[in-house]
Symmetry: C2
Subunit: 457 residues, 2 copies
């Protein structure tokens, strides 16, 4: 094997980024502002500070500052698990017999098992600094809840997690990791909140959704002194924190003078793909370079590929600000057979706008396809990938096989967001040949969209 | 925080060891030879090659060659997850308010979740090179079985795993990881083998033991053409492969001129602690340095601290060679409440001999103590440790707290062998306050020892 590029490119600690990058600053056409759900006017920092920590509200609304200093306390924590490696997938290349060069940025080497920790620690830090007692949040597949529990344990903050009920039941061990880190975990919809009680009444026996768990967590934060709500994806502040993924990737590539042809990320709410592509999109926006950027989403939750671009509710209870985004409608709930995360009905407004401007492509992949890709990858590269991450693997393999046909020696970079240790129930279904594929019908999509807000914008 | 030593010391790929170290070569008094169970004479390479691959039989019996070249194919695989980081536990030090400096060698950043992969890939490589079709093995907690499945998938070898029944039932997800890597997993005792059928008949409803699963795996290997048996601990060949842990640790420490005062490892069959301490023990044996070396075992399976040093059977079916080792008797089965691994009745003959010569200390720790240590560690250092590894954490914390009392600034190094993602059932018991402590009574120990072989040696 060619040894001139090491298997794993690790940056030195002093090469780690000390600032996050805000791609909005370099966009001529900015993402549309988020709106106050009562007034339908752009929300103010003051209004937003009732839900989020002050500094996070500021970051959310700031679309002109390109770089934010990462506080020293966060850098100290990052050093426990960062820089993450950029891995050359020599063994996968060999197995596929492709002339392409494949690299992946691996974010799974921390106990939360995913990239979510990058933003969790930032959000916990600002909560601590503001003197709060604790934070509330929702979690679906459980990666975000785990990450936040770890971050709160580190800063000795209380952490209350509303976990989508079907996930709470299917993933008892995810729950136990959070409890080990001291978090209180409640299945959602619960009877703890007004919105939870209302949803339970309207839809008896419901197994919950992210949109519903968000409403519960927001209500819980607003009804307790010294608490704020935090969110693991979708928000522009989260993409800002996650830009560390893209920045490290770029530095690592530059260290070995590697110029990527394409950068591929899986997309649910957009935190990973947004963070990964931000610095590369920034270069494109400034006319300094050109890359093919690809977001991959599940066919069962096809927000970019089959959604519409409009203002929508971010949660089922309609208590959150409205965002202009690609959306399937806040009533959309993926099929019960949907495994793993990437199940949110909307998409980060930044990712949505980049997609709308044509800087970013979108593709969708079915469950069986992604588990097949996961298995191929695991058997040669050793790492058992999360189902979410396997969407990116699937398209990376597709592209590498295209290169095999054409003989092109493209350089493919993808984001491997995390590990699948807590997804073995889904792997078991795949191993047993019981994994199902499905995609919402046109009728279902139209129904989910029926109650979109009328903002006139 | 003091930034002169980075959080994680990563060696460059070119600094990775290219040879394994065989500590037996530097021992004046060697470990006693393993014996043919029929003749009670030292077993020959020829005899041993019926069970193990030829090259592994050679490594097993060679107690005079100090260094073995690591084949390039194994180095290539090692580069996918090695070098592993030596981490400075700054956050743990701060939480304990200790003047001690604590480092841990983290072996959990690979999908098998532990150090076991270091030997699994070597054993699979030699099997492949010999042209075998496949290998058989046993697994208890599941780390070894997972590691071997990964290694076999990489070399496209068949892999048959006999998994101790209680573990097979309690850890369905461990089983699924192995299946994802293409292994066939059978709960032991099974009805597939004569020894399994006999044990099932004698002890109806038994949930199995490692000693029994070993017998089944050996029988399965001997009864199929093109198969050999492989083992994840206890053997001297395994310690040889695992010396990579100690060698990397030593190189990383030397890179920053750090001289450790003590090196702590958890001990079950001895693969981790043996590999970790080997190069340090070598220096002591050659009079070049002095370190305090400590093995930590569970109070519920106290092989070193309460066992006897004698020839014993390595398996329940008495088909394996006999080894002189610290042992609780091959009939010993830890309490059903024992969580995690470190449950073997005997101890590596190398580790046993080093202990007998006074180069190595041994301590035991109870379950509640080790889960408490695990929780403390997880909350500040981020990593969710395996219960096995937490034995070393417990003693490292004890020693760091002693330093706090005395004001000594000792340098403590411990081996963090793996992650606890598949041990959440045990964590749940601890979180719920249901974890039990227990230790075998003197009477139980005497009973387990009643059927030791009479070798006259």
């Amino acid at each position: 094997m060619n040894q001139s590029i090491p298997y794993k490119i690790y940056l030195e600690e002093h090469e780690m980024p000390r600032q996050w990058y805000n791609v909005r600053a370099d966009m001529t056409k900015k993402p549309a502002p988020i709106l106050n759900p009562q007034t339908l006017q752009p929300i103010t920092e003051e209004e937003l500070s009732g839900i989020f920590c002050r500094e996070l509200a500021r970051q959310e609304l700031d679309d002109h500052t390109a770089y934010f200093d990462i506080p020293q306390e966060i850098l100290d924590f990052y050093r426990m698990y960062r820089p993450s490696p950029l891995v050359r997938a020599y063994c996968l290349e060999e197995r596929l017999k492709t002339p392409a060069h494949i690299y992946y940025k691996f974010e799974g080497n921390n106990t939360s098992g995913s990239h979510k920790l990058n933003s969790a620690i930032a959000q916990a830090y600002y909560a601590k600094k503001q003197g709060l007692k604790g934070v509330t949040t929702e979690t679906g597949a459980g990666q975000w809840g785990t990450a936040l529990s770890m971050a709160c344990a580190y800063f000795e903050l209380d952490c209350q997690v509303y976990m989508v009920k079907c996930s709470y039941e299917q993933k008892p061990f995810r729950r136990e990791v959070m409890r080990t880190y001291g978090a209180a975990v409640t299945p959602s919809p619960s009877m703890n909140t007004a919105v939870g009680r209302k949803i339970n009444e309207e839809f008896p026996g419901t197994t919950g959704s992210l949109g519903c768990a968000i409403s519960e967590a927001v209500e819980a934060a607003m009804s307790q002194d010294g608490y704020r709500y935090v969110l693991g994806s979708v928000l522009s502040q989260v993409l800002l924190h996650q830009s560390i993924i893209g920045l490290e990737t770029k530095t690592a590539l530059e260290k070995y003078s590697i110029v990527p042809d394409m950068i591929i990320g899986c997309a649910g709410g957009g935190s990973n793909v947004g963070g990964l592509i931000s610095p590369f999109a920034g270069e494109i926006l400034k006319g300094q370079a050109n890359y093919q950027l690809i977001a991959v989403e599940p066919s069962s939750c096809p927000t970019l590929t089959r959604g519409i671009y409009a203002y929508d509710y971010c949660d089922t209870g309609k208590v959150c600000p409205l965002a202009k985004m690609y959306t399937l409608g806040s009533g959309f709930i993926p099929s019960a057979s949907h495994a793993g995360g990437l199940r949110y009905h909307g998409m980060s407004s930044v990712v949505s706008e980049l997609y709308d401007q044509g800087l970013l492509e979108a593709r969708s992949a079915s469950q069986r396809e992604i588990f097949q890709a996961a298995q191929t990858f695991a058997r040669v590269e050793g790492i058992l990938p999360a189902p979410e991450s396997s969407h990116a693997i699937k398209v990376a393999i597709d592209e590498a096989l295209k290169c095999k046909e054409t003989g092109e020696k493209k350089t493919i970079v993808f984001g491997l967001t995390g590990t699948g240790y807590f997804d073995m129930y889904a792997y078991q279904k795949y191993n047993d040949g019981l994994m199902e594929d499905f995609a919402p019908s046109q009728e279902e999509l139209e129904k989910a969209r029926a109650n979109m807000p009328q903002t006139g914008k």
